[in-house]
């Protein structure tokens, strides 16, 4: 762990750390007190950092026997009432999906970090990729809601890790933090104190046990959770359950409970949605990008603007649920939309769905990052054509 303190002090103090270390520090700041993981490149630094830091704050770190077990242990700890996280990469993320579905269905808060590397299969462990955007949404079987965040800098990994915990607790859902190998292992300065604020706590069950039903909700659609040991003695299951928490197959009860589950995030979009726009107001071409590709794109936007080419950038920070409405507004004026990404067109597919028309894509899957100059050249050429 290389935390380099700079000369600045007080509120201006910054630390020079890698993205993975920023994630670990963000987790501690958010109140994470349990981490279970399994070694995998390029996410292992998160586990290594937390193995040292968690015992210092009365937390628990454990390296489990496999990726499946670490996801299971994280859910087990969260069911016990402790904020919990795991971190992995591509192949490990595939193995997490089974229990990720359980967390979504039983509504157990947890944070899953996926440092994206090349695929398919073992792929390129030390090379960046952005090819798990779809898996983060659709990776486990059945329908379920989930939140995924796509930070684009070391500083944002820190703040988005904190936000991931807050959203997980508030919405009782798993939250996936998706970033690529480049920002995971890139070192940048982070103002750790600047983003500190009170952590969000889970809505715990209160009132008499006799009238408590674990999946009854108010208008917020988020059920209060019974902490073991508090006298509620509830049942939690991956089977489709009624408000009582026990399995049911009665069509109307199933329908009512699943409908509430599938739509619960819709009611909290103001809280969940996060995006960034750069010069979209007068842009002839809007670039849509996330993560390291968005950073390259923001440089490309500056390059284009300096040459008088009106290019803008729309960057989802919350990736799932996708900020479709915001994108439609940002791209309303644009004649062309360009999606540079490090996969074969996952974001392009989503953007085309949101805008209801074909858009241009730039797809790089060679294990390299997309260069700003290449995006700028393509954007300028597209603007010229229209």
């Amino acid at each position: 762990m290389n935390v380099v303190d700079t000369a600045l002090a007080g509120d201006k103090a910054v630390k020079l750390i890698s993205g993975n270390h920023a994630c670990a520090l963000g987790a501690i700041a958010a109140g994470c007190r349990f981490f279970a993981g399994y070694p995998i490149t390029p996410s292992s630094e998160i586990a290594e950092r937390l193995a040292r830091s968690l015992p210092e704050v009365d937390g628990v770190f454990i390296q489990m026997e496999d990726e499946i077990a670490s996801m299971a242990a994280v859910i087990g700890a969260s069911m016990g009432g402790v904020k919990s996280m795991t971190a992995t990469s591509g192949p490990g993320f595939s193995l997490k999906q089974e229990n990720l579905g359980y967390a979504a269905g039983a509504e157990i808060p947890c944070v899953v970090v996926n440092v994206m590397r090349g695929g398919p299969s073992t792929g390129m462990p030390t090379r960046p990729s952005q090819a798990d955007l779809m898996q983060a949404r659709w990776g486990s079987h059945g329908d379920y809601p989930i939140i995924a965040l796509t930070p684009a800098s070391v500083s944002e990994i820190y703040s988005e890790t904190i936000r991931a915990f807050d959203l997980a607790e508030q919405c009782r859902t798993p939250v996936v933090l998706l970033y690529d190998q480049v920002i995971a292992q890139l070192s940048e300065t982070v103002a750790l104190k600047a983003t500190r604020r009170p952590n969000v706590e889970r809505k715990w069950a209160s009132g008499p046990r006799s009238s408590f039903k674990p999946y009854v909700t108010g208008s917020d659609a988020i059920p209060a959770m019974a902490k073991p040991g508090k006298g509620y003695r509830t049942h939690t299951t991956g089977l489709t359950h009624s408000e009582s928490g026990f399995p049911t197959q009665q069509p109307e009860v199933v329908n009512r409970n699943l409908k509430r589950l599938f739509t619960k995030l819709d009611r909290h979009r103001q809280l969940i949605d996060s995006w960034e726009e750069l010069y979209c107001e007068d842009a002839d071409l809007v670039i849509v990008a996330v993560g390291i590709s968005a950073r390259a794109a923001s440089r490309a936007v500056e390059q284009c603007r300096s040459r008088g080419v009106r290019v803008g950038l729309f960057r989802p920070v919350t990736f799932w649920p996708f900020p479709e409405t915001q994108l439609r507004q940002a791209a309303a004026r644009a004649k062309v939309v360009l999606v540079p990404e490090m996969n074969t067109g996952q974001l392009q597919f989503i953007v085309e769905g949101a805008l209801g028309k074909p858009v241009e894509g730039m797809h790089l899957f060679s294990g390299e990052v997309i260069a700003p100059a290449d995006i700028a050249a393509r954007a300028a050429a597209l603007v010229k054509e229209t």
Binding site: R33, F34, A36, P55, E56, D58, V60, I62, M64, E65, D66, I68, A69, S70, A72, A73, V74, I75, G76, A77, S78, M79, G80, G81, V82, S84, E98, N99, Y102, A226, P228, G229, K230, G231, Y232, R233, T234, H235, T236, T237, G238, L239, F246, P247
Partner: protein, 279 residues
């Protein structure tokens, strides 16, 4: 000790009455094992609020829903992994895992051997009925050779696992086996497992009359249970004769017991030392 009248034990105190009738088939041994477990919990005075039961998928996995405690019915094969997280995060809870032979030894085999090795305080009750009952009677890792199941129509050709030997070899601090025929003995074994300060693995030889026994022409539940008792060697025999009675029979009772350090306490102790050194 073994003639226990259970006068002060009311099983309904530990059951969720609203969940009755239960879904187990007539003749299934799982209900006997559940009763023995609850009896052991009663004898030890474990409060229901402090009790967490984690179970996997299958007939055995369904039992957690009937217990009036903090219960978690999780994914197939993973209850030990969930329980590891829960027990580490909440050392104040008494965490029990209920699993079956398929759940524990096939899909969950990796979690079992590492739970044994790690020696975190957990009690794992594996109900072995030799078959995947819930899914309709497929071969399991404990199905004996030549047995007929829906996926071994030629008779099982695979050797079966000795779960207790596996758990002992993997390092479990406490390993025991009992049949459902001997309920007070089973209760005492579970009590000893629950009281053990580390990981305890207990195999209960249960019977699946409807799905497995029927297919193998094994008769009624009492007949199946009596057949099991004829296959085992009670632990008392080990001490009473120089030449063991039924030397090739399956040993029952406490098979392994040692005082290896419990993982959770060891971790917390090391963490406290680190924190102390930093201060």
């Amino acid at each position: 000790m073994l003639i226990d009248t259970a006068a002060d034990f009311d099983v309904t105190h530990y059951l969720r009455k609203e969940m009755m009738p239960h879904f187990l088939c007539p003749g299934c041994g799982h209900g006997i094992a559940l009763r023995a477990l609850l009896w052991a919990i009663h004898d030890l005075g474990i409060e229901k609020d402090e009790l967490a039961v984690v179970s996997g998928i299958g007939c055995a996995g369904r039992l957690s829903a009937y217990i009036d405690a903090n219960t978690f019915h999780v994914t197939h094969g993973r209850p030990l992994a969930y329980a590891t997280g829960l027990a580490l995060a909440r050392p104040d809870l008494h965490v029990i895992v209920i699993t079956g032979d398929g759940d524990c030894l096939a899909i969950g085999g990796n979690h079992l051997i590492h739970a044994c090795r790690r020696n975190l305080k957990l009690t794992c009750l594996m109900l072995n009925n030799e078959v995947y009952g819930m899914t309709g009677g497929q071969v399991s890792p404990t199905t004996l050779e030549t047995r007929l199941t829906t996926t071994t129509p030629l008779g099982n050709q695979e050797p079966h696992f000795d779960a207790c030997a596996l758990a002992s070899a993997a390092g479990a601090g406490f390993v025991g086996r009992e049949v459902t025929h001997h309920v007070p003995k089973l209760k005492e074994l579970i009590k000893a497992g629950l009281a053990h300060p580390g990981f305890a693995f207990i195999e209960v030889l249960s019977d699946c009359t409807e799905i497995f026994g029927r297919k193998n022409d094994m008769g009624s539940s009492p007949e199946m249970i009596m057949r099991q008792t004829s296959m085992i060697r009670p632990s008392a025999y080990n001490d009473t004769v120089d030449t063991p009675f039924r030397p090739n029979a399956l040993p029952t009772g406490i098979l392994t017991k040692n005082d290896r350090p419990e993982y959770g306490a060891a971790y917390r102790r090391a963490a406290a030392m680190r924190a102390g050194a930093k201060r």
